[in-house]
């Protein structure tokens, strides 16, 4: 399973990963639209991102969520009807949405954030 692994001890909370992610998928620099979320109120920081556990897949009524052959959970926007049931069941609150959007969104372990991180606090690993 391909997954984005986080190392909070190393994170310097520069939020570069969030910018990279939201710019790639939403064409804007906006934490609310990033699949990875860094909250720096705690120490070490909280790095929230999908761990590909699959809970959401079972909750989706339209089979819009599926696991690809690398073990990554993918969302098919053509099938998604935006009920947000997947958001509610996600045990780590990593199925993301922002109100007013048609569909939720999630980390697909693409790695764009890894390249942006100056502190090596995130890594794509295969488990």
């Amino acid at each position: 399973m391909k997954v984005l692994k986080t190392f909070p001890d190393k994170c310097i909370a520069c939020h570069a990963c969030e910018s990279a992610c939201s710019k790639l998928y939403f064409k804007e620099d906006n934490q609310a639209k990033s699949c990875i979320v860094i909250s720096d109120e705690t120490h070490p920081v909280d790095m929230n991102v999908c761990n590909q556990c699959g809970t959401c897949v079972a909750a989706c009524p339209t089979l819009a969520l599926s696991i690809n052959n690398q073990g990554v959970i993918m969302l098919n926007k053509n099938l998604c009807i935006g009920c947000l049931m997947c958001v509610a069941v996600c045990p780590t609150e990593s199925m993301r949405t922002y109100l007013g959007n048609q569909n939720p969104f999630k980390c697909i372990a693409c790695g764009v954030c890894v390249k942006s991180c100056p502190a090596e606090a995130i890594k794509i690993v295969t488990e």
Binding site: A58, C83, M85, V87, A88, N103
Partner: protein, 710 residues
């Protein structure tokens, strides 16, 4: 399948605006006229949508003399402005109305499945079907193309579990698009008997079957078949989270997400809908002496352990997303997969059975003395596919079994069927006979009211006894709760406009268990508020379950826990978010009150809706037989002491029963007085002109009917 197009109607596709299309679809299967009708502002203001639109359209379409099988009788299916949103749990209901063959007045059913939302998003706020076809037809709505067709239906199959699946496959664009088609159908029994239903399908992508949800009550399936309609089919493939075009999608999503999370956190401890659906109620009802057993004689029996929810949990496939519409995270629709019936035409063939829900488990289980869950599942399966209402089947069969127990029926009269309590083979054979249109099953399938008349006239049975044990009012069979010890629920059942169904009010715990509404005034207030509040679901296209089967964690600490204030506020919020119109919890009740009173006056057009129509059989009120009295003697003796100030010692059981009966019947009448007054009706149950004016339901045609009675 070779089909001839008999009539065709093209229309412009246009997006829904804030929950409304502002037009309804009229289809006459007799004259083959298909037309669009505009929705006026008056309709929206006074009738809102859903059941309101249905009744308004039907009012224009029928005459005071219309019978269920007259061509002008209509089947109306409407959805409501909130229907079809995918954000808030329980938002996919259709409301079906017709003049019922059982009651002769409008009946309304609230049903899930995808037909309603898809038809709405195809461009219609309601579907109004009239006329009688001279050959078998299908009505097809293509919401992707903007096309309505009436087609011939030479299909061999009528039974829903096969027909629905065949039609989904036939009308879908391709095998990967089956989820965009939904079918309304009934079954063979609807050609022969009256206790019938309509099945609304949704394609279950995981199980790869057409699941069936029932518009159960009042014989809708018989009207459908009388019109020679085999099925209604809709196709719509554009569903998104904003297809209903709400004015404020973020608020709608936020409110939905809050409830999703509440359900995720509370379902296991509160209602176990994910595991077992409404069948979780079985042991709760049995524990409280509320589970109907042997035609509502008793509410509790040790044998009922056989129908414990754990038995159904074991039969239901677990871990499935069983919502009857997208976005319902409460997901109560359980199914038994690969069930192999042991009787009938589908014997040995693996089928998917939708349910049993509580009502079916009680009606087709304990109430007829059956305590094997597999028998219940089999009856459930055949009821659905034949188009028989499981509630009326249960109550009608229970009545026949009690008549058999009392010698009113015997094997000669039943054509050889041994209708002893718990004889599942005989119950199933009744069902198969209904489907074949032969034997004693046809008599049972006419419903309790008709059986009372037949047994008195043909078998010389005592009409008073039949009246006492025949669990029907207005011609409709009671649904499956014991109301004997809850005066408020006796009213909740028997005052319900369409007949004794618990969807207007379920007050048993509030009244009997918690004693929160001790006075007549309290009960009347509850019998005003809850029917109005619940009517609102039918105006909007919503399901009742997510209102109070799941509660916020702090609900008990609120000032009115029975109302679930936070959820009421959710409804206010999502109504505003979708329609953009003002709303608060008071206006919500007023919206319902208008339509509720309209429905009441509608009944009066047919000469019904009078005080005498609101009378329960005594079985719903107290013990009819000595056996019943003696089985709960301590309770009834105590009742005599505490309520009547009577010392039961020295009195015979018959004397005690008579005193109790006089008291309880008088209590019921006092309740009716209080409720009518609270509802703004005369002591005869007629809405006053003042009241109709004050709620804004003083249309001239309504006042004209009311004045006949004043």
């Amino acid at each position: 399948m070779e089909r001839k197009v008999l009539a065709e109607f093209k229309y412009d596709l246009a997006p829904v605006v804030q929950g409304y299309n502002k037009r309804t679809l009229y289809v006459n299967v007799g004259t083959k006229v298909i037309a669009a009708k505009p929705v006026s502002d008056m309709m929206i203001d006074k009738f809102v949508g859903g059941k309101g639109f249905d009744l308004y359209l039907m009012w224009q379409g029928v005459k005071d003399s219309t019978k269920w099988n007259d061509p002008e009788n209509e089947i109306c299916i409407s959805f409501g402005p909130l229907c079809g949103n995918t954000s808030y749990p329980g938002s996919g209901k259709s409301i079906v109305t017709t003049i019922s063959p059982l009651t002769g007045i409008p009946v309304d059913c609230n049903v899930g499945g995808h037909f309603g939302p898809y038809t709405k998003f195809s461009g219609w706020d309601a579907l109004e079907i009239q006329g009688k076809a001279d050959e078998e037809v299908i009505v097809f709505i293509d919401g992707d193309k903007g096309l309505v067709q009436i087609m011939t239906a030479p299909d061999k199959e009528i039974n829903s579990h096969i027909l629905a699946e065949e039609l989904v496959k036939e009308f879908a664009d391709s095998p990967d698009k089956l989820q965009y088609v939904s079918v309304v159908s009934t079954g063979e029994a609807a050609d022969h008997v009256l206790i019938t239903c309509l099945n609304f399908s949704f394609w279950d992508k995981r199980r790869k079957v057409a699941r069936l949800k029932q518009a159960g009550r009042g014989g809708t399936g018989s009207v459908f078949r009388d019109k020679k309609i085999k099925a209604l089919v809709v196709k719509y493939s554009g569903l998104k989270s904003d297809t209903n075009h709400p004015v404020d999608l973020p608020t709608l999503q936020k409110t939905g997400l809050k409830l999703h999370r509440e359900i995720e956190a509370g379902d296991d401890s509160q209602c176990r809908m994910h595991q077992v659906g409404t069948a979780h109620l079985m042991e709760i009802m049995n524990d409280y002496d509320l589970l109907p057993i042997r035609n509502f004689k008793y509410g509790q029996m040790p044998e009922a352990i056989g129908l414990h929810s754990k038995e159904f949990t074991a039969l239901f496939t677990q871990g499935m997303v069983d919502g009857c519409w997208y976005g319902c995270s409460l997901s109560c629709c359980k199914a038994v997969d690969n069930f192999k019936p042991r009787t009938g035409p589908y014997k040995g063939q693996p089928v998917c059975v939708d349910g049993p829900e509580y009502e079916t488990a009680a009606g087709c289980g304990s109430n007829i003395g059956i305590f094997d869950p597999k028998d219940v599942v089999e009856i459930n399966f055949y009821c659905d596919t034949y188009g028989v209402d499981t509630i009326s089947f249960g109550t009608s069969t229970a009545f026949a079994m009690e008549c058999y127990e009392n010698g009113i029926l015997n094997q000669e009269r039943t054509g050889g069927l041994d209708l002893s309590w718990g004889n599942a083979d005989a119950a199933l054979e009744l069902l198969h006979q209904m489907a074949r249109g032969e034997g004693f099953g046809v008599t049972v399938g006419k419903g309790v009211r008709a059986m009372k008349k037949i047994f008195a006239e043909q078998y010389g049975a005592d009409p008073d006894f039949l009246q006492d044990i025949g669990m029907e009012a207005k011609g409709l069979e009671y649904s499956q709760y014991m109301s004997k010890e809850s005066l408020a629920q006796q009213g909740g059942y028997t005052l319900a406009l369409k007949g004794p169904q618990h969807d207007e009010a379920w007050l048993i715990f509030m009244d009997m268990v918690n004693n929160h509404i001790p006075t007549f005034k309290d009960k009347a207030e509850a019998l005003h508020y809850f029917p109005m509040f619940r009517t609102w679901f039918g105006l909007q296209g919503l399901c009742k379950l997510p209102w109070n089967d799941i509660e916020p964690a702090d609900n008990a600490q609120t000032d009115e826990p029975a109302k679930v204030p936070e959820h009421v506020q959710n409804y206010v919020d999502i109504y505003k978010a979708i329609t953009g119109k003002p709303m608060d919890k008071h206006e919500l009740i007023r919206q319902s009150e208008r339509v509720y009173n309209f429905q009441k006056v509608f009944c009066m057009r047919f000469g019904k809706g009078r005080r005498i129509d609101d009378l329960p059989p005594y079985r719903a009120v107290g013990p009819v037989t000595e056996e019943e009295y003696l089985s709960r003697q301590d309770r009834y003796d105590k009742h005599l002491v505490e309520k009547l100030g009577l010392n039961p010692e020295g009195l015979t059981t018959a004397e005690k029963m008579a005193r109790l009966r006089a008291y309880r019947e008088d209590q019921y009448q006092q309740l009716v007085d209080a409720v009518y007054e609270r509802k703004g009706w005369t002591p005869e149950g007629v809405p006053t002109v003042d009241h109709l004016q004050s709620i804004g339901m003083d249309l001239p045609e309504v006042l004209e009917v009311v004045k006949r009675y004043l």
